[in-house]
């Protein structure tokens, strides 16, 4: 039996992401039931100032170095491999975000551990660990049982309560030097997003279009709807990749995170990468012609129908009301 669980902190541009606390919370729970210590690792220039907020862990390893403009998977894995080996760590949790992506498979390849992606749940029972993952854009779940409780897991943001990972305690902090091994990839610069005409994160009503809208011309019905009910039009990734709407309107993992009063999803399947950006909306209404679309698992109200049969009629009725 090995001796610990480690949570890799996830942060961009000096902000710790919520999923870091989610991982600390579930990490603590697992550590307690498995009777093992909980470690965390924070890498980056200024990392030490985050460490005090990680009191739920028993020990926090910190690699703070001015030279680290951004921690790329190759560097993270160099550091992780050493810590994992020296401390005989069996379980590693990484964030299922773009910033931490790649760490799991790379570390798995180096350590010969198993890596399990897209985790929504982790349960320790009868000496075994079971991971539930969301596959096929959220349409199918998988369960993987690890008898040896050894592995690397990437956690989908929003899977566990972040509150459970926060504590007022001060952790033991261990400074680790920068490995200075030389990296094969060179970071040059951050490229900030261009400011859009509207800031979708500030809108209280969003009408969001997905691939089901069919064509660029059809987006006009969403425009028409927001003209009546207010708010702005936003979209899922394929609409942005097609160039039909600007990047500033993309909702999801790589796009914006929004919490409007109303999020109306038209022809969006509800892939985990999209859900990540809109799950905290107060009211979610989805129109989709596939009754099995995962968007119906996060929406409060669902309409299984063709957009064309519903939205134009809705617009007409709203106009009549005015």
């Amino acid at each position: 039996m090995s001796k610990g669980i480690l949570v890799l902190a996830d942060h961009t541009k000096e902000v710790i992401t919520d999923v870091s606390y989610e991982m600390l919370g579930i990490g603590r729970k697992l550590a307690d039931s498995m009777n093992q210590p909980l470690y965390s690792l924070i890498i980056g220039d200024g990392a030490e100032k985050f460490a005090s907020g990680f009191g739920i862990a028993d020990k926090v390893f910190v690699v703070a170095d001015k030279k680290i403009e951004i921690a790329i998977p190759e560097l993270i894995v160099q550091i992780l491999k050493k810590i994992v080996t020296e401390n005989d760590i069996s379980l590693i949790l990484v964030a299922g975000t773009n910033i931490s992506s790649g760490v799991g498979p790379l570390l798995a390849a180096k350590l010969d551990y198993r890596f399990i992606h897209f985790c929504k749940n982790l349960i320790y029972e009868n000496g075994e660990l079971m991971a539930t993952s969301q596959l096929f854009g959220g349409k199918i779940f998988s369960e993987t049982v690890l008898n040896d409780c050894k592995g690397i897991f990437s956690i989908l943001p929003g899977s566990f309560p972040a509150e459970a990972g926060k504590a007022s305690r001060f952790p033991e902090i261990i400074d680790i030097p920068h490995p200075d091994d030389g990296l094969k990839i060179k970071f040059k610069a951050f490229i900030e997003p261009e400011a859009g005409d509207v800031d979708v994160t500030k809108e209280s009503i969003l009408v969001s279009v997905g691939r089901g809208i069919g064509s660029s011309d059809n987006i006009s019905i969403a425009d028409e709807l927001v003209e009546i009910i207010g708010g702005a039009v936003c979209a899922s990734r394929p609409i942005i990749d097609q160039g039909w709407l600007p990047l500033s309107r993309q909702i999801g993992k790589s796009g914006m995170i929004v919490k409007p009063k109303l999020y109306m999803a038209l022809g969006i399947s509800g892939a985990p990468e999209h859900i990540e950006g809109m799950k905290d909306a107060e009211l979610i209404i989805a129109v989709n012609k596939d009754s099995a679309a995962p968007i119906f698992n996060v929406a409060q109200y669902g309409i299984c129908a063709d957009i064309d049969d519903i939205v134009p009629m809705l617009i007409d009725k709203l106009k009549e009301r005015k």
């Binding site: 498979p105 369960e143 990047l247 698992n297 996060v298 309409i303 519903i310």
Partner: protein, 259 residues
């Protein structure tokens, strides 16, 4: 530049997915296969690079239902070679696939100084994570995923890529070739190829079918169970005619003080 693209067929999630009787895989008879979406972008990005900098584009795939269509499609777009690795790979997971592909690259001596290997950044069934990182480790070359833009500097034999983070933020990275990158989105949407052009290419071009040595590569561990998502938090469905549905919808919106 010598571009190698590794592509893979996945289940089309627009269709209904059925779990097979073993509860560990999808029922093949129900699946409509399509090229993994990010692979489609990888093919487009490769063609864009070829148009800009010249070179040779080779598309390589494991045998799978409907894979020939995807390979002919890539040829019609401008790929120079299409290679199909014959065999039954249905149960192969990312680490095993990476080993197969990496061994193939090594055996054929395809990794030269100007080689850029590409694949989609992630597939919808990548339970073991991104293929490119396993391949990068096997081949000991620089690896970068979630790429949305690639530029080549032939004077230094390096590429400049944009990697996506969150909220529209991206990072620019410089990578020496040979390297492997995972494409998230090509700089332009994948081009549409008319059926007539694909038919024409089917007459003139050929998919090279190859067998690879059995290196006792394991397919990978299977999952214990597949299941449909639990429906606990499911939406209240508004039923009835469009007239009734829209009336209910207006009621809800007004109840919530949105209209």
């Amino acid at each position: 530049m010598n571009i190698l693209i590794f592509i893979r067929m996945v289940a089309d999630v627009v269709e209904e997915l059925k779990i097979a009787d073993d509860f560990k895989s999808l029922d093949i008879d129900w699946i409509r296969f399509r090229l993994s979406e990010t692979d489609e972008h990888a093919v487009e990005q490769a063609i864009l690079l070829k148009e800009k900098y010249g070179g040779m584009v080779t598309v390589i795939a494991l045998d799978a239902p409907e894979v020939d269509d995807a390979l002919y499609n890539a040829l019609a777009k401008g790929a120079d070679r299409a290679i199909k690795i014959c065999g039954d790979w249905m149960n192969f997971r990312s680490p095993g696939i990476a080993k197969l592909f990496s061994n193939y690259i090594k055996d054929e001596n395809l990794l030269v100084t100007q080689t850029l290997i590409m694949s989609g950044s992630q597939a919808i069934d990548d339970l073991e994570g991104e293929l490119i990182y396993y391949m990068g480790e096997n081949l000991n070359i620089p690896t970068c995923g979630i790429v949305t833009s690639v530029n080549y500097r032939s004077d230094f034999n390096l590429i400049n890529v944009y990697k996506e983070f969150a909220g529209g933020l991206r990072g620019e990275f410089e990578i020496n070739l040979p390297a492997i990158i995972g494409i998230q989105a090509a700089e332009k949407p994948p081009r549409y190829i008319p059926i007539a052009k694909i038919r024409a290419i089917m007459k003139t071009a050929k998919i090279e079918e190859i067998d690879i040595p059995d290196d006792h590569i394991s397919a990978g561990k299977e999952v214990n169970r597949l299941l449909e998502p639990e429906v606990s938090g499911r939406a209240t469905m508004l039923e009835g005619s469009p007239d009734e549905i829209t009336a209910k919808l207006i009621e809800i919106l007004s109840e919530k003080a949105i209209i």
